[in-house]
Symmetry: C2
Subunit: 622 residues, 2 copies
């Protein structure tokens, strides 16, 4: 136990729950890492699509970023309202299913689950990819490093929310401070130089324009840039994890995260335009990320550059953590409604929903292994889920306010309606722009997952229906069972079993198998060994039945016999009493046949409601 | 089941046993393959050590072969007597343990077991090695081919003895006919040419002499050549597998095998000497095996050469089969004396000792994997076991005759005594000559295996002692058990469990766990749901006990409670009644917690003789 405690922390009692709640300062790394980390690749993804326009194309980043920021603002106000309306955690799933019905809820849940898994795989592989391009010697170990990172993140999350916050606090704030400092210096230099700053390190030169701007291209740029918005729903999903006063702390946390993200996006877009920095083709020699070029141009490649790049790398890897905070919570909510196995709703020893964490780690690990740690092609798959969830969440909020019908709710309906409208259009744009690049996979996975979850719900409903009945216990027909005792030899073990059978019922059948191998035949001694001592004690004697087994099977004839008994005595319980030898050490089990185990398992599976299996252990140590 | 039948044959009833017995013609491939296949590497191993003597060294092969053949003759007469004395199978193990005591028996068994495993690994890898040097394209798949061969041999053996014979008949007789034909032609050519035949294909030229002959070198040559004798004990070990009249058929089979082997050894030695063929250094470029050179020199490299080489290759691979016939029989004999798990003594569906076959395949596969299918370095390990077993077997026969004290037994004592003496000296010579090349490993493994088997015997004896007692059943103190019913919720499942408990005993305790999660508290409804209906039926009501579980564990508090009850009621059986949900499909089990399974397993392990586990299943299908 001490190793487990060391790795995962001591178990926490249910009453220690409150102490695991977090503050706003702690909440930013936990719920904001995903959103903030997106700033490192959102602008880059948008600028990449502008490469064909050459140097002239860079400036389109400013209107596109403004559009994204406007959308972000709308989404922000929408989620602020969600936090207020759902203080116990209003993820897209909860809001959509409560206000738009279970179908829409499942749609949101499926979209989000896929997104969370993708975020983990993409985040880790992107971070490790950056590390590997910095240290080419690690290249052959890409997948190993990815998997090791996944294991570390999983273990940290198994320890619980508060500990997680502590680990991720430093990298998150380092990332924010570095980028803010770089942007501040850049803005200052731009102002001093009258809008045309001189880069300290010259950025990559941009090729000549090879195409013209079009609305279609701008739509694609916008939809790529929208990846910068993934992760902003995390706070509203996890309101329950905050310390009291929950709503305020959650709202503050969301406000801070969105504010930082807007400043980052604005700063990056503006400075790229001012310094004339565009994306370079990934995978080509001389490739440098946009942020690398930008910080190099502003501050030169000194210690600040390296600290900044290191913090970006860390945040990319660690943004997977947002999923680890949110995926298990989402699964718990879905499981509580019966659409996922109940195990997702059980809190583990450290008060986290361990099962969700394991499943997320497993699925992300699977993705990493399938794609060998290089998951670039998964990126087009993963904005759809987020925006679909945004849309459903805000449409759900519209439904929420409509039913309230108060004075306050009119403006609320407007805000959420605008959010739903804007994000719905974004979903359409993203699907249209990325359909053939991978969006179709997500569009197949979402209904698949929904069908799966509906199947689970149907199973649980069937079970629940089968198990309810009158609450009052029926006292009728309490007949003792018919007891069957299969024995191998006549020794203390089988005698104990027969004695126990006699305490349960007067109808006992002792079963011996004659497989033609040498064995004493109990039939000859039955009168001496069993019948006469019981007669002397005025007790009824059990019946001895011998089954022939020409094929030397032992377990199957017993099973068949019991199944026949069931048919013959439909009104009685058939209790099969299986003597079990229990060894002192696990390896001693190899020295004894495991027929007792096999027989018990088969009876459980093949028997009907009449069959009961009684294991009478004989402990060798005693 | 039909796939199993197709692969392994239909199950055979015990009364079909006799039809699986074999004839002399069928016995030669089954029990002779190992001995005959040895002719392909025994002379080669001897000649390899003569390489330093150059061309002059070749002629020493004749006296060495004569010595080996003399030894073979002695061993032959010894084993003939063993077959007569032990018609039900007189392997070295049986003979040594019955006449020299269990210690010597175990020594023989351990030596043989190691030898059998080595024969399988060495045989397969040598055969595949020959194939691979003929077809260099297969080189990268050496291990795969080895493992595939092992699987095929294992499956063929699982079908049973007679089928095995059919598969191995053709290659064995092809091998014998080819070698006999080549030897006959060679002898004829030698006689016609007056003792100096001209090779059709010139053999490799031998280097100049680099050393002189010495007794030490001759001893090493002799002990390497003795590998040609491994496998001759197989017939005496498997007498039981022959058709009636057993003894005669077994004796005939042994005689034919030994006669063929002697002719092969003599022919190969004489012709090598006549044609001036020596070994070439294995692993060097231009390497050719002695038999390849010899057949090439006699007949040229036409179709006959290739057919012969192919048959040698097949026999090398298939000689592993002798071990598959013998290892399970040896293990059965050892297991019947309690020195190995009983599973070795149980006949499988095809009347073979399946467990022994699996274990042999597993161990040989392990060796093949560890050595990557190249097991040349294992060869020095594997004559010791065989000769140790020969010695013990014949010493045992001496003991056997001594106790008989008849007129006939004097010559018998002499024959077996000579056999024991000659093979004992061989063991010493082999150990001395090969100690540092690997014999030390065998010398460590043998006592290790003996200690292991003694441990098993000790365990079985302890269990047997613990289980015997008075045969007459005690009718005293037949008290109904104290029944504990842990329930999760109050529904049909738990009601069925409580009702069943009430049929068993008047002392029933219903246990519910309060883990602080939302759950109805049964305590408030107990009187309505349970007590009053039972009171109306004039039945005693069970007691309700609620256990607090702050750490949300469910199974552990129940276990602790039961263990406490055991202490409090030392005179009673405690029956724990575990309600079990049984799903229709295996995958549905993932949707339900497996606490019932875990609780049952823990109670079995941690409980004492008082605890009994009752599984009351609830079948969802019903």
């Amino acid at each position: 136990m001490s190793l487990t405690d060391l790795l995962f922390g001591k178990p926490l009692a249910s009453y220690e729950d409150r102490t695991e709640r977090i503050s706003a300062i702690g909440g930013i790394p936990i719920f904001g890492l995903d959103a903030l980390g997106s700033a490192a690749y959102g602008p880059e993804a948008a600028l990449t699509l502008l490469i064909p326009l050459g140097a002239a194309g860079i400036h389109y980043i400013i209107p596109v970023s403004c559009a994204i920021i406007a959308l972000l603002g709308i989404v922000f106000f929408s989620y602020r309202q969600t936090i207020d309306a759902y203080p116990s955690g209003g993820g897209s799933y909860t809001v959509a299913s409560q206000n738009l019905g279970p179908f829409m809820g499942l749609l949101a849940a499926a979209a989000l689950m896929i997104d969370y898994v993708l975020v983990v795989a993409v985040g880790i592989s992107a971070g490790v990819g950056a590390l590997v391009s910095a240290l080419p010697g690690c290249q052959p170990y890409t997948l190993h490093i990815c998997m090791a990172t996944l294991v570390v993140i999983t273990m940290v999350n198994m320890r619980g929310v508060r500990d997680t916050g502590a680990v991720f606090l430093l990298p998150t704030y380092l990332f924010v401070i570095c980028l803010f400092a770089a942007i501040a210096i850049g803005v200052l230099k731009t102002i001093i130089s009258g809008g045309h700053p001189t880069p300290v390190v010259q950025a990559a030169t941009l090729g000549p324009a090879q195409g013209a701007i079009s609305w279609w291209l701008l739509m694609k740029v916008f939809s790529s840039g929208c990846t910068a918005m993934t992760g902003v729903e995390a706070v509203s999903n996890g309101v329950k994890a905050f310390r009291e006063p929950r709503r305020q702390l959650a709202r503050h946390t969301l406000t801070i995260i969105i504010a930082i993200l807007i400043l980052l996006l604005l700063g990056i877009a503006g400075l790229c335009s001012a310094y004339g920095i565009g994306a370079s083709e990934a995978g080509q020699s001389g490739y440098q990320s946009v942020l690398s070029q930008l910080i190099g141009a502003i501050t030169g490649k000194g210690w600040f550059y390296y600290v900044s790049m290191f913090s970006i790398l860390l945040v990319l890897v660690l943004q997977a953590n947002t999923s680890f905070a949110d995926f298990p919570r989402l699964c718990r909510a879905v499981a509580e409604n019966g659409y996922l196995p109940y195990a997702f709703a059980i809190r583990g020893r450290r008060l986290v929903y361990s099962f969700g964490i394991y499943i997320l780690a497993f699925l992300a690990g699977l993705l990493l292994i399938i794609f060998g740690g290089v998951t670039d092609r998964l990126i087009p798959l993963f904005a759809i889920g987020a925006f679909l969830a945004f849309t459903l969440s805000q449409a759900g909020m519209v439904g929420h306010w409509m039913r309230k019908k108060g004075a306050l709710s009119k403006s609320s309906v407007l805000i959420n309606g605008l959010g739903a409208f804007a994000t719905a259009i974004t979903v359409v744009v993203v699907i249209g722009a990325k359909f053939w690049e991978g969006a179709w996979i997500t569009l197949l996975l979402i209904p698949g997952l929904m069908i799966f979850m509906t199947g689970i719900k149907r199973h649980y409903s069937r079970v629940a229906r089968a198990m309810v009945g009158p609450k009052v216990l029926s006292a009728a027909d309490l007949l003792p069972p018919l007891v069957v005792v299969p024995i191998e030899e006549w020794n203390k073990v089988s005698q104990k079993a027969v004695r126990f059978a006699l305490t349960l019922s007067h109808d006992v059948i002792v079963l011996q198998i004659d497989a033609g191998e040498k064995k004493e035949n109990l039939a000859n001694k039955w009168a001496d060994y069993v019948e006469s001592p019981l007669k002397n004690a005025s007790l009824p004697a059990p019946e001895l039945v011998t089954l022939e087994s020409p094929y030397r099977y032992v377990v199957l004839p017993i099973l068949d016999y019991v199944l026949e008994l069931e048919q013959m005595h439909k009104d009685r319980q058939i209790a099969v009493l299986v003597p079990r030898l229990v060894a002192n050490h696990w390896y001693e089990n190899f020295l004894h046949n495991q027929r007792g185990t096999i027989l018990s398992a088969l009876l459980l599976l093949k028997g009907n409601q009449q069959t009961v299996i009684i294991n009478v252990p004989w402990h060798l140590s005693a």
